[in-house]
């Protein structure tokens, strides 16, 4: 019943555990590439991660891609805020 090939046309199936897993894996691969390139904000890396980006966009729904990208930026911001707070705290403790 059009089982093969239909997934390409319709995009990933969020209800399928395999499809979710595949999406998460390609997301992790793309983010790892961004980390290696020293880029925080997805989409600002130029052409350096074109291949993993294509797989990521193929294996995840657009809304999921937006959500994961947004969360990556937020997580990085949180990390830098936490780092600042920690250095301030240790500086205050030293006084």
């Amino acid at each position: 019943m059009g089982w093969l090939g239909s997934s390409d046309k319709k995009g990933p199936d969020p209800v399928s555990r395999q499809d979710r897993q595949k999406c998460w894996e390609s997301r992790d691969a793309y983010f790892a590439c961004l980390d290696a390139a020293g880029v925080v904000n997805p989409g600002t890396e130029g052409t350096s991660c074109a291949a993993p980006l294509k797989a990521y966009q193929q294996n995840c729904a657009k809304s999921w891609v937006d959500y994961f990208n947004q969360r990556r930026v937020l997580a990085e911001q949180q990390k830098s805020v936490l780092a600042t707070v920690n250095t301030q705290a240790s500086a205050a403790n030293r006084k």
Partner: protein, 270 residues
């Protein structure tokens, strides 16, 4: 009833008068032979007492007195019983401090059967609100819930019912729900409904969700929603909520504690 009361009061009054009169005279006549002195001395005050007793203690006053007494007695007895009952309830159910979570539900199961809050009775429940297009938090939480249910099944048999309630009425159809829930746990029950009944369920459980009312089944969007899962007792009442930070072990330990207490109280695990 009032007639008999009055009659009784009148009889009492007459008896009192007789007693007063005889009590006033007899000791005087027996102990003191000096009639000339004792009679005038005692007859005055005894007559006065007599008339004053009659003046105040009328049948109406008696009836009023008795009626007020009876009413007060009945009222205090009722109040006392009410307070005792209230205290019993508090002790039995630890009603104080129980959050008002849970209430009317009118949804459909992934097998197409109707489901209301009545169906939460007779078993423990773990209830998670989410949507099948959820990127990562819902599947994680449902896996956690399923793992906890597996462990609890081993300990008690199937007394804890895992439930997934959709907050995405536009996209989560029966087929979608069926495929989704059976992937997590064989006993996971998927519940869904139209926008109004979904909203009602979320209101009952204090769950926030952001699905736009105009969303179409083909739209690609995410639903922002509360990600607690709720633990309900066999009376369908809220016990606790678990967040993202709770582990499978936390959930199992909490449920076991409640089930043990329930068994001690009722003699059975559900």
């Amino acid at each position: 009833m009032s007639a008999s009361l009055v009659r009784a009061a009148r009889a009492g009054r007459i008896a009192t008068r007789t007693n007063l009169r005889s009590g006033a005279r007899t000791p005087a006549s027996w102990s003191h032979p000096r009639h000339y002195a004792s009679i005038p001395e005692h007859s005055g005050p005894s007559k006065q007492r007599d008339s004053s007793a009659v003046g105040v203690f009328t049948p109406t006053a008696a009836a009023l007195f008795i009626a007020t007494g009876a009413a007060l007695f009945a009222y205090f007895k009722y109040e006392k019983e009410r307070l005792a009952e209230q205290r019993r309830d508090e002790l039995a159910d630890k009603e104080v401090g129980r959050p008002n979570v849970g209430g009317p539900l009118s949804l459909t199961t992934h097998q197409g059967k109707p489901f209301t809050e009545q169906d939460l009775q007779g078993h423990w429940s773990l209830i998670y609100f989410g949507f099948t297009n959820c990127p990562d938090i819902c599947p994680d939480e449902l896996d956690k819930m399923s793992a906890a249910v597996d462990q609890l099944d081993k300990a008690y048999g199937p007394v804890v019912q895992p439930i997934f309630i959709s907050v995405d009425p536009a996209r989560d159809s029966q087929i979608q729900m069926e495929r989704y829930v059976t992937d997590f746990h064989p006993r996971l029950l998927g519940l869904f409904g139209d926008y109004a009944s979904t909203k009602e369920a979320c209101k009952s459980y204090r769950v926030y969700f952001s699905t736009p009312q105009t969303a179409k089944a083909t739209d690609d969007y995410l639903v922002d929603h509360s990600i607690f899962f709720y633990f309900m007792d066999p009376n369908g009442r809220f016990v606790d909520a678990f967040g993202k930070a709770s582990t499978v072990e936390d959930v199992v330990a909490r449920v076991q504690k409640e089930v043990t207490a329930w068994k001690a109280k009722t003699g059975s695990v559900v």
